[in-house]
């Protein structure tokens, strides 16, 4: 540790206790989710939420997988499609824009940057309704495009890209490449993108999670369950469960199945969040 002072034993115990209390708070709902996912519908309502009761996790998982023509997998696929494609395109496009704004001077550059910056401030959900009106005008409502198109833009990505490019892409390197006769696009794809990888990964993850977690946009755009992402699908199960109680269990099982891989991914990729975001905030 960088901190040179060795804390006394008492304060160390206190510190660990504090950290542990916080850990209980963050873990408890996850613990409940895991326990609840093993129960039958009857035990879900009839037994303590803290302990196992006739665990039947595999049966529950099979029910989730098989329900309604395995639509769960379709939702997983849709979520991956929206998030994966959306984040990938958003990353490349906004990193390119950020790099361009950092390394090229042209008239109106700062004005443009400020407009993009304003885009960061506009809440995504405030845009969902206007987007719906627009999409219905051009007949794209209830298509994959309706969710995908608005997902491929990340004003924050451009902002981060600009800051990162000014710090991490040396002008001398660009000049040298140009002198060697490399075209601008080649420079971007072979040199710049590599130098900006940490920022690009951050933007990608940020955007991926943003799209994955989005609810309002698909809610207003989609009416065909075959195009739902996971969030919308699971909520649709939950909202009919008052009349079809077996869907309570499905909702819980689906929530667990969809959260676990993402939680693992999030935790194992956390250093990328740190890498890019520090740059963003240091200069911000």
């Amino acid at each position: 540790m960088k901190n040179p002072r060795t804390p006394s034993a008492a304060s160390r115990v206190l510190l660990t206790a504090g950290l542990a209390v916080a850990a209980v708070y963050f873990l408890f709902p996850v613990y409940w989710l895991v326990i609840a996912a093993t129960k039958s519908t009857g035990d879900l309502f009839g037994s303590s939420g803290l302990s196992l009761s006739n665990p039947q996790l595999l049966t529950n998982i099979r029910n989730v997988f098989e329900y309604n023509g395995s639509i769960f997998f379709r939702w997983v696929g849709n979520s991956l499609l929206y998030s994966g494609v959306g984040a990938l395109v958003a990353t490349v496009v906004s990193i390119a824009a950020g790099y361009c704004l950092a390394k090229f001077t042209f008239r109106g550059r700062d004005a443009l940057f400020n407009i993009f910056l304003a885009g960061v401030m506009i809440p995504g959900t405030a845009l969902a309704l206007p987007l719906f009106l627009l999409m219905s005008e051009i007949g794209l409502v209830n298509t994959y495009w309706a969710v995908l198109l608005p997902s491929v833009i990340s004003p924050f990505g451009a902002y981060l890209g600009r800051i990162y490019a000014s710090a991490a892409v040396p002008d001398s390197l660009l000049e040298a490449a140009r002198l060697d006769g490399a075209g601008e696009f080649r420079i971007f794809f072979t040199i710049v993108l590599r130098l900006m990888t940490p920022a690009a990964v951050t933007v990608f993850l940020f955007q991926f999670i943003g799209i994955w977690n989005n609810y309002f946009l698909p809610l207003v755009m989609l009416s065909d369950p075959d195009r739902y992402p996971l969030t919308l699908g699971l909520v649709s199960w939950q909202s009919v469960s008052d009349r079809h109680p077996e869907l309570y269990q499905m909702t819980i099982g689906g929530a667990l199945l969809s959260s676990v891989p993402l939680m693992i991914a999030i935790v194992s990729l956390q250093r990328f969040w740190r890498a890019g975001l520090t740059e963003g905030s240091v200069k911000g």
Binding site: I153, T231, W273
Partner: protein
């Protein structure tokens, strides 16, 4: 130079075009919708409609609707409480992790960050179960101690929502701050140590000022996030009698559009919401800049 111009076009063009199509154009269209109205004629089921210009009428309607203004105040109140709580919690966790011994730090950090991987609506479903009497082990445990907590009551529901949001994002904000703490030069602490600074002084005099940018960034994102509250109250609504259809501005706009079919008024409400979010974020940045100089 043609090459340069082409490069600028190629690098910046796609982003600008997408920005225009998915952000600028919808805003423009919403502005247009917000100053027009639908007029009807003909019998039910076979009527015809026409669009008329009504100026700022919808804005006046929205702002004079006590339910809508109440929803704006509600998210502002929510933000005023939620943002400090979230930021203080995230900063405290980050500082605690920074001070703790190496063992266990990685585990704790991961645990705190974990909920960020759970979508907001799923987190709301989850907490919804934990708030429901008869289902919730939390309430069971509380009742052993004779505590009668009502998470879903009229006075507590807003804070039950705040809890969901905090649970989900505190770890993420913590991570941003941790990242900044890591980038501080360790020599600084040593020098302070030699000068006889206490651990507390090191935190307040050195660490906090140096992680200010990270705190500013997380604060702005938290403000933007809290003002667009939508999924959480929507999911919790069937569980409680206390969440109205206009509980937050987003819910109000959504219901105005899809329950009342008044898309024009809904567009005006969306524009107002975006304005409020911008004003708050910019005001905060301005405040920070001024006090930073």
């Amino acid at each position: 130079m043609r090459g340069r111009r082409l490069a600028i076009l190629g690098l910046l063009g796609p982003f600008t075009a997408l920005f225009a199509a998915t952000i600028a154009l919808p805003i423009g269209f919403a502005l247009y919708e917000s100053v027009t109205a639908i007029e009807r004629s003909g019998p039910l089921g076979r009527g015809t409609t026409s669009t008329v210009f009504v100026g700022l009428e919808h804005y006046a309607t929205a702002l004079s609707d006590p339910a809508f203004t109440a929803s704006l105040w509600r998210v502002v109140l929510f933000a005023l409480v939620q943002v400090p709580v979230m930021i203080v919690l995230a900063t405290t966790l980050a500082l605690m992790l920074d001070a703790a011994s190496a063992r266990g730090v990685k585990f704790f950090r991961s645990v705190y960050f974990l909920p960020y991987g759970i979508p907001g609506v799923i987190a709301s479903l989850l907490w919804g179960f934990l708030y429901t009497p008869g289902l919730s082990p939390v309430l069971d445990v509380a009742s052993w101690f004779g505590l009668n907590i009502d998470f879903l009551g009229a006075s507590s529901i807003l804070w039950s929502i705040a809890n969901i949001v905090t649970w989900q994002f505190a770890g993420y904000n913590m991570l941003v701050i941790v990242a900044q703490l890591k980038s501080i030069d360790g020599d600084l602490f040593e020098a302070a140590e030699i000068d006889g600074a206490s651990a507390w002084q090191i935190i307040t005099r050195i660490k906090l000022p140096l992680i200010r940018p990270a705190i500013v960034l997380t604060t702005v994102f938290t403000i933007i996030g809290t003002i667009q509250l939508f999924g959480e109250p929507l999911i919790l609504r069937p569980l409680t009698g206390s969440i109205t259809s206009t509980y937050t501005p987003n819910l109000a706009a959504y219901n105005e559009a899809f329950a009342n079919n008044n898309y024009n008024l809904a567009a005006a409400e969306s524009v107002l919401l975006a304005l409020v979010a911008c004003v708050f974020s910019f005001a905060f940045l301005k405040l920070v800049n001024r006090s930073g100089k």
